[in-house]
Symmetry: C2
Subunit: 429 residues, 2 copies
């Protein structure tokens, strides 16, 4: 097809009329589909039902260190859960703290605690003059940004490149400004672009010498084993722990992981890996906050998956379920939009999203029109701090939850709407 | 026996010598027993093993409102869990928010959030001039006091009476000082005394007209169904929710409950009941903090207990297990110490503790000597803010965890040590 930018006004008008008609037909179908979140499908959870029978009354409930998992105790988690998650992200089990069913509250608590009490003995952020700042690679994960916004932290956009965040800019801020206290990273199969940070990017992160002693990298390794393809077609991420060790920077990072998108989204286990000094800091407030997390669910995961290979095998089954969904969306995007010059999109090798870049100023309209026709996408702007996409162009597509036939319809609608809104823009409507 | 205070010096010296010998014998036995926490025994959890088979792969995982409990969603909990806990404490299910495995983090988060963001729109506590204060009925629960101490909140001791906290004092502080923002209450079978607040006390709480608009009662109904005896020998607590409604004070309280001492101490479910306004406030930070709590564990509890009667029946079995332990300790205290004038203790009808009042200045020594002989009690002072018992006399005895024969030995040691330390005091040693 001819790029839209090369069309004459009358060609665009003709296209517009046809697209409007097609859009009305879509609306008449009464679609009702929520693609707003990176939510696993029922099928993905159906293959994990055995988890519900692990740590049953027929099993024993004593952890590897002799702890009765039904009772209080083991504030930082049971050894087998630490090993399971530690092996998953490549850190020694003693570096892990395993908590409840989600990693988000672990991050939230860290930020809240930093504001109230400071990081590892440094001044509480609430007592600092001026605004604490976080670097936010964009587009990124809306819930990260929500945590920092909620705590009154100023967020600075850092553009993503195919190798990860723009490290020149990261270094500039981190070196020059001691009010820059953190950066949100999803280093593997990033949300929403599916970018895995290059080795050089990870090394540059690990060798940062921040102006602020309490600067930390929030390394949210949410998609550590969430590959869509087989071994030869996967991204691999350098180990931040090992790199920080090499650079003599052991305290620089917190690494988060969870089984939310491995076992059950609502009932997994989650943890954080960090240096001894950082862990002591985390434990200093955990010990006030809770007696212990749900060790039976930790044990359930350890019994069911047995080890990190168990998880890796399980994730192959996930890939078999969601790969066709990614491929279906990509196939339709390719068929409908290639060559039109009205959008670009990522082709991730893992993770949960496809990121779409529309023409400037079109994202909000596209999401709005899709909604009119019954398909809810992630709100435009959500992938940026303060929900403000400066170009209003990024749209996050979450293909995992819908059934394949629904997804096909939704993707076709999406492409139609992209065309429609783009033509409108080019016509100056 | 003759009261120690009436003994002559030589009688006391003789007693001292004998007690010292007995103590050395005890030490030689090499006891090793931890009675420091209110921890359920293995037996109590053994009778709940069926919980581990509820919500198994043979059950379905869809909650009463059609939610797939395996996936994300239902931030405030599933309806059946709200009903289960709501019925337990006598509030409508829509007033409940059900969260994770423990009520302590619910309280912690509320306090932390109040400091950072304020309560229901009022000024964040960190922005107030002067110190925020909490009233602390004493003796009380150490983990409550730890939360407020950790957040830099000044704690004011309120003496307990047989009817609950000294309400004249509570009213005085709450009416006169708008920096008083909260009070910690364990209204039924209080920790550690086992006191249940009288109807008048509850009514006076419900009709408080605080100077501070953001004053709240932290009503930790941890032992709502934790009776030791049958119906005619139980305490009953007036319903704070109903009383606050009657008084036109619906926003005055947060009521906490959990199944930590019903199902599994480490893997129960916990919730908070409050008014719509308060719930909206809680949800305003929950929505930033987490996507959803572990709904499968909520469902597991709903399937297993079926309804609050299921819990009440289950608690009868708990009583059968722990009542003999309470009775054993009381029997030994009675046999060894009655009439000696060196201590008083409570005879609770429920809850997890016996509270012992030693002669002034003796608690720390008693706990220390017990520890020398291998029995760890709750640290002296722990039942007071800042761990400072002004009289150094209160000791919390937690009889639930040990086996009956261990408990007997520990109680005998305890009585011996009370005598020994009391004699030392009377001799001015």
């Amino acid at each position: 097809m001819k790029p839209y930018q090369e069309m004459s006004k009358s060609e665009l008008e003709a296209a517009f009329e046809q697209l409007e008609n097609e859009f009305e037909e879509f609306c008449a179908r009464g679609l009702k589909l929520d693609m707003s979140r990176g939510k696993p499908s029922s099928e993905q959870m159906d293959i994990c039902m055995g988890l519900l029978d692990a740590a049953s009354s027929r099993d024993h409930y004593i952890s590897a260190n002799g702890m009765d998992c039904r009772n209080y105790g083991a504030l930082t988690g049971i050894p087998e859960a630490k090993k399971l998650l530690g092996d998953l992200i490549g850190v020694p089990e003693e570096m892990m703290i395993v908590m409840g069913n989600a990693s988000l509250p672990i991050m939230y608590d860290m930020v809240a605690h930093s504001v109230l009490h400071g990081v590892c003995g440094s001044t509480p952020w609430m007592k600092l003059e001026g605004k604490v700042k976080f670097l936010c690679p964009v587009p990124g994960y809306d819930r990260h940004f929500a945590i920092t916004e909620f705590h009154g932290i100023e967020m600075i956009n850092i553009p993503m490149t195919p190798d990860g965040p723009d490290m020149d800019l990261v270094e500039k801020y981190v070196y020059e400004d001691d009010m820059v206290k953190g950066i949100w990273c999803v280093p593997q199969y990033s949300n929403p672009q599916g970018i895995t940070y290059s080795d050089e990017t990870v090394r540059r992160f690990a060798s940062l010498k921040p102006a602020a002693e309490d600067f930390r990298i929030y390394w949210d390794n949410a998609y550590a084993v969430h590959h869509l393809y087989d071994k030869k077609n996967r991204d691999s991420l350098l180990n931040i722990y090992e790199e920080c060790e090499k650079q003599g920077n052991p305290d620089l990072f917190f690494e988060f992981c969870s089984t939310s998108k491995i076992s059950f989204a609502g009932a997994g286990i989650a943890g954080v890996a960090s240096s001894r000094k950082n862990r002591e800091w985390i434990q200093s407030y955990m010990t006030i906050q809770i007696i212990s997390y749900d060790k039976l669910n930790q044990l359930r995961h350890a019994y069911y998956f047995k080890n990190s290979y168990g998880i890796r095998l399980h994730m192959k089954k996930h890939a078999e379920i969601i790969r066709p969904k990614f491929q279906k969306v990509l196939e339709i995007l390719d068929r409908e939009l290639t060559g039109l010059g009205i959008g670009e999109w990522t082709n991730p090798k893992g993770g949960y999203f496809i990121s779409f870049e529309a023409l400037e100023g079109c994202a909000r309209k596209i999401v709005g029109r899709c909604k009119e026709a019954g398909v809810t996408l992630t709100g435009a702007g959500a992938t940026f701090p303060y929900k403000k996409d400066p170009k209003d162009s990024n749209i996050r597509i979450a293909p995992t939850y819908p059934e394949l036939d629904e997804l096909q319809e939704a993707a076709e609608l999406f492409c139609l709407v992209v065309k429609l809104v783009s033509v409108e823009k080019l016509l100056g409507k």
